[in-house]
């Protein structure tokens, strides 16, 4: 019981400070004049993924690789699930803003990386490693940087329309925003550090296992900031930013996985985890594919939309939950 209270406490802190963090991050990038895509894709995704990063590193340091990997992969699944929820949410309101198909760039690249991750999970120790680092880790790091550069070039080549963004708090000075940003970042990191050990005890107490707890409980907690930020972005009409944040987060998750592998000194991380992680990775790719098809299909016209894509995404999320429970 106490364990669950601890879990809820940490989740609440991450939810609160994580959402604040992105607000101040938003203000900082506005005041320093960073462009819309970099806001959504790099900065915002990086910021909303701070809990994932802190949790992942703490899990690796406490020798809980299944929680680290589950956190990253479960977060990818949950992020696309958020997209399904947003899509359903947006159906009620006629949307004037068009979702930019450019988001498929990061979606496609995240599928490429996830494909590599599943391959490494399946091959495990049969794949040669570079010392304690998996062969995939440098590839993911290089690929991540290349994708960021591509996204930047892409953005420069075809500028977007004006973004509907307003800031109630933009009266804040840059200095004030930076201080608040640092404060909330510290709180998020502080809370996230405790998460893996709580998760380990929950896994033991419930008998659900670290893979399940990592993929579901830890991943949902660390993805709460993405959820609130995406919903908030939607509310102010910045649909593009919401979607960019989700796919950008998934891309950043791959980067986190690579960083975790570097800090996990016992061997290549994907050879040390249960092979069941293949399930969430496959479902994340399936959901991303469905979302991409939805983005293409939606693009031309918005009315008469049956929410087939969001319905499918939500269904696949449940399939993931059921399969992970079955394999626990």
């Amino acid at each position: 019981m106490l364990l669950w209270l601890e879990f809820l406490g940490v989740s609440a802190v991450i939810l609160f400070s994580g959402s604040r963090l992105t607000r101040y991050g938003d203000i900082i990038s506005e005041k320093t004049g960073l462009s819309g895509l970099w806001l959504g894709l790099v900065l915002m995704a990086g910021v909303t993924s701070l809990p994932e990063l802190a949790t992942g590193l703490s899990a690796v340091a406490s020798d809980l690789p299944d929680i680290a990997a589950g956190n990253v992969l479960g977060s990818c699944v949950f992020n696309v699930f958020i997209l399904g929820l947003l899509d359903t949410l947006s159906r009620k309101v006629p949307l004037s803003a068009k979702i930019n198909q450019a988001n498929i760039l990061s979606a496609g690249m995240s599928i490429l990386f996830l494909g590599g991750v599943t391959l490494a999970l399946y091959l495990g120790a049969r794949l040669p490693g570079l010392g304690w680092i998996g062969l995939y880790t440098p590839l993911i790091l290089i690929g991540y940087l290349a994708t960021m550069r591509m996204a930047f070039k892409f953005e420069k080549r075809r500028p977007r329309g004006p973004q509907a963004r307003e800031h109630a708090a933009s009266a804040l000075t840059l200095r004030g925003a930076v201080i608040r940003y640092a404060l909330h970042a510290a709180v998020v990191v502080g809370a996230a550090v405790f998460l893996p050990s709580i998760a380990e005890r929950i896994a033991a107490a419930t008998g659900l296992g670290q893979t399940f707890v990592g993929n579901i409980f830890v991943a949902i907690t660390t993805s709460l900031p993405e959820f609130t930020v995406s919903v908030a972005a939607m509310r102010i009409g910045a649909v593009d930013m919401a979607v960019a944040n989700i796919f950008g987060s998934n891309l950043f998750n791959m980067f986190i996985l690579a960083v975790q592998d570097i800090f996990y000194l016992k061997g290549p991380i994907l050879s040390r985890v249960q092979s069941e992680h293949v399930v969430p990775a496959l479902l994340a790719m399936a959901m991303t594919g469905l979302a991409a098809a939805g983005l293409i299909y939606n693009s031309e016209r918005k009315r008469f939309l049956w929410a087939w894509d969001s319905f499918g995404i939500i269904l696949l999320f449940l399939v993931n939950l059921i399969l992970l429970y079955m394999l626990r």
Binding site: I104, G108, L283
Partner: protein, 332 residues
């Protein structure tokens, strides 16, 4: 030696008649006034995938070789995506991905859940409940395939310039009577089916004498052989300037391959097909996923430049293709 000659003869027949088949299919479509989307995505993809269908059914029904059936389908998906890089190399000035319409992503996107379902079926094997001798994934894949077709049809009707409606001149085969086209079509279809029926047995023999195993031979040799019609049709569409028909055919073919896999499972009565095969097929599934993701990113990015022959996305796709080959060889 004799086996290799047999393999070459069957491959030659499939290549020759398979390419003819799609030309006659094209004629029939034109004369009966079917839209070009159904040409690229449904009819053409189905026609160029006829060898896969015949080989698959003959593998599971006549020969009892599930690994060759599944290998053929997955290897064919890998090969179809590799063809994208090949036509990118043929594209003179601009990279292929900047010429193709983004509507092609609809099929690519819908393909991903289906291939993921195959991956889950392979990974979970017997841990997944089944419906008699049919895997749980089979009705889902069939429903997904039909759903994707319905979506593509609506998308097309809405007037999206996908799949090259405006690309090919409408009266390409004015001098050919419909009857002649139908006769030519039926004849070549019979040749393709006849040749493909022998393929699994030959492949089994090859797997034995080379020691490469059913999975490798199915995924590489059989798949290469059954994908040759896709290669010729795609190249000729591309030469005609019908870029979207070419790209649509490849993604449509992959979608159709998923339908074939479901059919193979239904006709394989010994149990769920994906529980009966080696788990190594997962490697191809992951490669296909990665390549499709890369192709999707490329279709959006529209690089305006090529680096050494092809654009970056084609280099990536070719690299994954080679990686798949190496890994399948390493685990054989």
């Amino acid at each position: 030696m004799l086996l290799w000659i047999e393999f070459l003869i069957v491959t030659g027949l499939i290549l020759f008649s398979g390419s003819r088949l799609s030309r006659y299919g094209d004629m029939i479509a034109e004369k009966t006034g079917m839209s070009r989307l159904w040409l690229g995505m449904v009819l053409m993809a189905a026609v160029t995938s006829l060898p896969e269908l015949a080989t698959g059914l003959s593998s599971v029904v006549l020969a009892g070789l599930p690994d060759i059936a599944v290998g053929d389908i997955l290897g064919s998906c890998v090969f179809n995506l590799f063809i994208l890089s090949i036509i990118d190399a043929l594209s003179k000035k601009k990279p292929l991905f900047s010429l193709a319409h983004q509507g092609n992503l609809l099929t690519a996107g819908m393909f991903l859940p289906l291939i993921s379902a195959v991956g889950l079926g392979l990974f979970l094997g017997d841990r997944l409940p089944s419906l008699g001798w049919i895997g749980l994934y089979t009705p889902l894949i069939l429903a997904g395939y039909l759903g994707a077709m319905a979506l593509a049809f609506r998308y097309e009707k809405r007037g999206s310039p996908a799949a090259g409606i405006h690309e090919v001149p409408p009266d390409l085969y004015r001098d050919v009577p419909l009857k002649k086209a139908v006769v030519g079509y039926v004849f070549n279809a019979a040749v393709v089916v006849g040749a493909a029926v022998f393929l699994p047995r030959i492949a089994e023999g090859l797997a034995e004498i080379t020691g490469l195993g059913h999975t490798f031979v199915g995924t590489i040799f059989v798949a290469l052989s059954t994908s040759l019609p896709e290669l010729t049709v795609t190249i000729s569409s591309f030469r005609l300037g019908a870029v979207d028909t070419a790209v649509g055919n490849l993604f449509g073919s992959n979608l159709f391959n998923m339908g074939i896999l479901a059919l193979d499972d239904i006709f394989y009565t010994k149990g769920p097909l994906l529980s009966a095969v080696e788990p190594q097929h997962l490697i191809s599934v992951f490669a296909v996923l990665a390549m499709t993701g890369l192709a999707a990113a490329g279709l959006i990015y529209h690089s305006d430049r090529k680096r050494f022959l092809v654009s970056w996305e084609s280099w990536g796709i070719a690299a994954v293709f080679v990686l798949n080959l190496v890994l399948l060889f390493a685990v054989h």
